[in-house]
Amino acid sequence: MTIDSMDPEEVDAADILGSAIERREDPALITGDAEYTDDIQRPGMAHMAVARSQYGHADLEGVDTSAAEEMEGVVATYTHEDLHGEDTPEGGSFSLPTGWLLDSLEQVDHPILADGRVRYQGDAIAVVVAEDRYTARDAAEAVSVDYGRRDAVTDPREALDEGAPALHGEDNVAFDWELGDSDATDEAFESASHTVSIDVENQLLVPNAMEPRAAVADYSPGSGELEVFMTSQNPHLHRLLMSGVIGHPEHKLRIKAPEVGGGFGSKIHHYADEALAAWIAKDLERPVKWTATRTETYVTDAQGRGHRTEAELAMDDDGRITGLRVDTKANLGAYLSTFAPAVPTWLYGTLLSGQYDIPAIHCSVTGAFTNVPPVDAYRGAGRPEASFVVERLAHLGAREVDMDPAEFRRLNFVPADEFPYETQVAVVYDSGDYEKPLDKALEMVDYDSFRERQEQAREEGRYLGIGFSCYIEACGLAPSELAGQLGAQAGLWESSLVRFHPSGTVTAFCGTSGHGQGHATTYAQIVANELGIPYDDVEVVEGDTDEIPHGMGTYGSRSAAVGGSSLVKSSEKLVEKAKEIAAHQLEADPDDIEFEAGEFRLAGAPDRSLGIKEVAEQSYLAHDMPEEMEPGLEATSFYDPDNFVFPFGTHVAVVEVDPDSGEIEFEQYAAVDDVGNQINPKIVEGQIHGGIAQGIGQALYEGAEYDENAQLLTGSMQDYAVPKTYHIPEMETDSTVTESPHNPLGVKGVGEAGTIAAPQAVVNAVADALEPFGVEGIEMPLTAERVWEATNGRATTDGGSPPGEGDDEGGEKR
């Protein structure tokens, strides 16, 4: 179902919430007016470039910057020894902190310029500053480094083996973590009638936002203010972290995210480069710009996923799931990135119940340091990995008990009347109705006739397959108290300020920070609806720590559920105050005043009314206010939700696989998502599309691959297959609506749904197509070579065997 967008002018004020209006951010973006970080110029601006490690693991035996310094146009060079905190009372750690702690976490030092040792290719060794971009890069190349090579390890399982080269201490264990009831799970497996297992990799991915990370820093010695424009998903968080790293007081540090060209998680974290640019701008008292090259983004942007997992599912005779056991070795890369410890633990283990009522679950995760860039949140962050495990097992489980895969899932769904539903992995699902999206999706792919078509095709030597993914997603991690118990070193509320101007227009400030999601549009829809004023009278401001009082940022599909709800709360507070002013001026009791469509009316006397804009004007004139009430009309809220919200849905891929060439072609891709109420269905559709594309990218094309020296073999867009136009099929999307009871908008979240859902829909479809060959699964990405190997009996990529010889225990093995 394609959604047509509308001109906001043509939408009735009463219908603005929920309308698929065109985005107000687009005019600047389609004309070239939008300003991204690298577009910013400052008089006297110098350019920074970073000399990085060529090797994955080495001691630095000598770093010589003299050749760089002698180059014409070079302003300064810095190595670890040059970083000092004496300029500021706070000092400065010059090390990047971790924002999430676990009981067993091994905290390690992460200096912003390497201190005698490098642990991944791309680790920063020295910085040069020059008059222009090209000279800075040349000078960075002229930095000469003597390396004492060390052995490297990039796979989390191998990193945990005895004798593996250790990155920090004695071994590479970053943490051991578990969740669920291991005794109950053991029992479930002992009494199971059927079990299936997998041994899979969820490969490392490179986020590849189209805009590379960048920063422009400018320091005013007179005021002591340091202003940093940067590619950020969370300016306030970056301000707090950077303040500690470079020792600059938080109140004199301003972080602004101008237009940001995509993030997908990679612009949440605090990296060395932005901190270096900021500190150096201060040290040199001169504006400094740093923009990553694409090559640098490949070796420095936090990568995603990187799991090695063994998992098994227990079932009874009827095909009911009775237990799930999961053991994962998670790649954390060379250091602990900002939220890294949370991703393979609390954002992963808690989603392992999927859409199913599973009575016993146990999950253990060991985090491993390896010589790859730090691994952290990438679109979905933990939840795609969980959903992949659950839905691959569901595929194999159905096959094992000889049930239709859709009916197997339906049998095991948490029933619609059981919500709120408490899982065995520490979360309570807010609301759900899992059969609805499944039914809709089955209809979209005409499942009734599919099996027959599949049978016929097989007779003709063509291999069609259908793959299901009934996923669960969790957004807006909350409340803050819970986040704290789980180890977050931050609250996960959101804050906003809604301010009427005397002339009757409104500015809404929100602490989230959009970078393509269309917040300026959707937030204005929310606020216009709450205040009953025209959409065009609301301006939305995000992404600037000096303008927006507080904020936690945009990630984890939290903006609508937490930021949007905060805007509702602020608007409600504002209306409360306005109501008292209106009552005073109408000489009535506030309890007798009704507010609707922007008008305060005296109940029972409809001609006695005052519009909210008039009230706003009166509040600033302040000539006739209720006693002891302060002038002005604005309100701030800190919204801290009671719980996560849990979107869900069913994605179905229909593919044809050519066993001779190994090629996979999409016949259909159908997605039915339930993200709760939709503020702007066109934007929701766009988020789903983009998410699916990244999920298909993971399933079929993408993967960070390293050689034995931990050098990235897929370090460019030529070698790492970011999907192109013809790689992504036409997607058919539809939705169901199950409101979340936890927030005033009844919204859930949509930013990551597609990425969570898609990979296993595709892998299951291919496995279904190749069932006659005994293929149970193939490791992602499903390259033609891997598919060919699987179907031609050179089974290095699956546990299957040639047609006719089913393999009960099989799974995916390398």
Binding site: I30, M210, E211, G262, G518, G686, G691, A693, T725, Y726
Partner: protein, 173 residues
């Protein structure tokens, strides 16, 4: 390095500038002349974010040296509008939600206008083929294909005032 004096005609305006022999056209446009609408995603000819028209044809401006463009007519995203009116391709992207973060969009639109000039009525397949050199990480491409179709339909309509549709940098000018 000796600098070279070159002339670029960008969106109809002549500019004289001096560049190093190695300066890329995209950096000359962005850093020297301030046409920052054209974005840089890779500098290695793979992403298409930097696509502009040179002498009427779409080129990736990170593969062209500024000195090679000496004397050429360059059209960038800033030149798509005529007066206050959006070009149909801009309208198409807006109406079809063909952009999210917008970073790939200028390059996409410049490639798409070139595509539509050569093939005014492309199939969805042909649109996908025509845009294969442009990467977008946000949209999943479907709405971009819709946007180009939308623009093609719009361009097919006779222009109301009898004037000609303006092709940036192309024959229609």
């Amino acid at each position: 390095m000796t600098d070279h004096e070159i002339t670029l005609t960008v969106n109809g305006t002549d500019h004289e500038l001096s560049v190093e022999p190695r300066t890329l056209l995209v950096h000359a446009l962005r850093d020297e002349l301030g046409y920052t609408g054209t974005n840089v995603g890779c500098e290695t000819t793979t992403c298409g974010a930097c696509t502009v028209h040179m002498d009427g044809e779409a080129v990736k401006s990170c593969t062209v040296l500024a000195v090679q463009a000496d004397g050429e007519r360059i059209e960038t995203v800033e030149g798509l509008e005529s007066g206050d009116d959006y070009h149909p391709i801009q309208e198409g992207f807006r109406e079809e939600h063909g952009l999210q973060c917008g970073y790939c969009t200028p390059g996409m639109m410049m490639t798409a206008t070139d595509l539509l000039r050569e093939n005014p009525d492309p199939s969805r397949e042909e649109i996908r083929e025509g845009l294969e050199g442009n990467l977008c990480r946000c949209t999943g491409y479907q709405n971009i294909v819709n946007a180009v179709e939308n623009a093609a339909a719009e361009l097919d309509e006779p222009v109301a005032d009898g004037g000609e549709v303006r092709w940036p940098g192309g024959e229609g000018e």
